[in-house]
């Protein structure tokens, strides 16, 4: 079983917006100094599900694929420390300015070059631009079926049984391979890397593919969608803090106001 997981390096999504600034020139949101960069949260859920699934098979390999420019090797090596086997990257300034179409095309080319894979795992969306589109791009470009927001996978003979999360419940899906799977936080917490894992990961070389090796014509990945401007929306809201000598009084004051206004 040959598996790959596509991951993206993003600014820490739990950072409050006053710790972010906008790089207008490159149309990026960047955390101010000392704020860490991380692997997109849903991508780590994908790594976790891939690891869990691979434990059922004797002969499996998990490759991590990441594209961008100036990737932080300590960040993108985290999945290796969790237990993945290798990491393949493609770094180029061109990639930094691609839209969902360009990124899907680059990832698909890498998947073709290093695959074929039985399952391609991806996070359901990245926390920086929230497009939730690239896995669908890979699915359409490589013509591989996609099942989104998967919680669990089990084998049933040559087929797979997949638990998919829907808004008001769950679906069980039967599918053959190859397959693209996207994941959300329903998978559960990604495992912590062990000390041994971290040591081994730090020794592993990153398998670097250059953009030129992929033989992609720049014209085929010219952006279709442009970001003209990024900004923080102005917040004109003024909160009224309900005062009182104790919680009982505060509760009374709050409820009186809400009643007066007809809210309750």
């Amino acid at each position: 079983m040959k598996i790959c997981v596509c991951i993206k390096e993003v600014p820490d999504s739990d950072v409050p917006s006053n710790k972010l600034r906008i790089d207008q020139e490159n149309k990026k949101i960047i955390p101010i100094e000392n704020i860490s960069r991380i692997v997109n949260g849903f991508d780590l859920n994908a790594v976790e599900l891939a690891l869990r699934f691979s434990e059922n098979y004797e002969d499996t390999s998990i490759s991590i694929i990441s594209v961008g420019d100036n990737l932080t090797s300590d960040v993108i090596k985290k999945p290796l420390a969790m237990g993945a086997d290798e990491i393949i990257t493609c770094e180029d300034p061109i990639i930094e300015n691609l839209d969902i179409y360009g990124i899907s095309f680059v990832l698909s080319k890498i998947i073709e070059k290093t695959g074929p894979y039985d399952i391609i795992f991806c996070g359901r969306h990245a926390s920086d631009f929230d497009n939730a589109s690239v896995p669908f791009g890979i699915s359409e470009i490589l013509s591989i079926p996609l099942i989104n927001i998967v919680k669990n996978i089990t084998s049933k003979g040559k087929k797979l049984l997949i638990d998919r999360v829907i808004t008001d419940g769950f679906q069980t899906i039967e599918s053959e391979l190859p397959l693209i799977i996207t994941t959300g936080n329903q998978v559960g917490d990604p495992r912590y890397p062990t000390l041994k894992g971290i040591m081994e990961a730090s020794k592993k070389e990153i398998n670097k593919i250059t953009f030129n090796e992929l033989g992609i014509l720049e014209s085929t990945i010219a952006p279709k969608v442009q970001i003209e401007k990024l900004y923080f929306p102005e917040n004109e809201n003024k909160v009224e803090i309900i005062e009182g000598n104790n919680n009982k009084e505060k509760a009374f004051n709050l409820l009186s106001k809400l009643k007066e206004e007809g809210v309750i």
Binding site: T172, E228, N237
Partner: protein
């Protein structure tokens, strides 16, 4: 402009939030011909959808709808009809179909559009939130070629249905036999009490609640105010409450009259789902919690102690 609006009614009841699409179209302020392609739902309501043309795709309510069949059906429909703008709204099927359709037909796609800015001979411009709603971006696309967008939920007022009925054309659902999978079972988890989507009052708990027992108080207050129970991701991940009650970017998007939060700090991921509430009241021990920046009333207090007092006071009044 020739516009296609895509409406999915997975259950037999009509999905009223789809009517937000038509307010968005009104904001475009241009001459339009609107075609609605409607999957499932009650035909007598569908005939009143504010469109020039209505195409109905009947669904078998006993079989789970496979998004690939919807994708193929719209793709085939677009082979025979040309559109400048294809509009989806947020639901499980549309979230799957809209980006896939964009790649299949090589048409640009913009998800979560919350505002139309302008259209001229060259460019179409829209606003969409990024970085979990903490920032916004003005996006532009070539206005001389077709475009697919998905509008952000609750950003537009739903338009009213027409008084009179329009004729309906019926087409059949195409089954994708090549690039698909088989749904063998669907389990709906129906939470007790009032549903989040319909509730006028929502009482939500977060990390500050601290335990499953703490959520019993949330439920008690919700029932006193005839409201529904909501939760942040931290509370859902700690398994204090079912995933179905998650409010936020990856959960429900709601706009109740009163959104009353206990122990929620207001991460942008959560705010995405509740920011359109008419009155947000927040209880948090941290006076700098970002939820206060979006609240009408704030109470700096221990949320578990405060909720007990609110429940007592409410019982006294009632």
């Amino acid at each position: 402009m020739n516009i296609l609006s895509v409406i999915i009614n997975e259950n037999e009841t009509f999905n009223l939030s789809c009517l937000e699409i038509f307010s968005f179209i009104e904001e475009l302020k241009c001459e339009n011909t609107i075609t609605s392609i409607v999957f499932g739902g009650n035909k007598s309501v569908i005939a009143k959808i504010p469109s020039d043309e209505i195409v109905y795709v009947p669904l078998n309510s006993t079989v789970a709808l496979n998004p690939n069949d919807v994708l193929l059906s719209i793709d085939k429909f677009m082979d025979d009809n040309s559109f400048d703008l294809i509009i989806f709204q947020k639901d499980d099927i549309s979230n799957y179909v809209s980006p896939a359709l964009s790649f299949r037909r090589n048409i640009p796609y913009l998800p979560d559009v919350k505002k139309f800015i302008s259209k001229d001979k060259k460019l179409f411009k829209f606003v969409r939130p990024v970085h979990g709603e903490s920032a916004e971006g003005i996006y532009s696309v070539d206005s001389t070629i077709p475009l697919i967008i998905k509008i952000r939920q609750s950003s537009f007022e739903p338009k009213l249905l027409n008084e009179k009925k329009n004729p309906i054309n019926e087409i059949i659902l195409n089954k994708d036999l090549k690039k698909s999978f088989k749904i063998i079972e669907t389990k709906k988890v129906k939470p007790e009490g009032i549903q989040l989507d319909d509730a006028d009052v929502v009482i939500s708990g977060g990390r500050g609640i601290g335990s499953k027992e703490g959520f019993e108080k949330i439920k008690e207050l919700a029932s006193l105010l005839n409201g529904a129970v909501g939760a942040s991701r931290a509370a859902v991940e700690s398994e204090w409450i079912e995933t179905s009650q998650l409010v936020g970017l990856t959960g429900k998007w709601i706009n109740p009259t009163l959104y009353f939060t206990f122990g929620i700090s207001g991460a942008s991921q959560h705010l995405a789902g509740c920011i359109n509430s008419k009155n947000i009241v927040a209880v948090n021990t941290d006076p700098d919690a970002s939820i206060f920046n979006h609240s009408k009333y704030g109470i700096v207090a221990d949320c578990n102690e405060f909720i007990t007092e609110v429940i007592e006071e409410l019982k006294n009044i009632q």
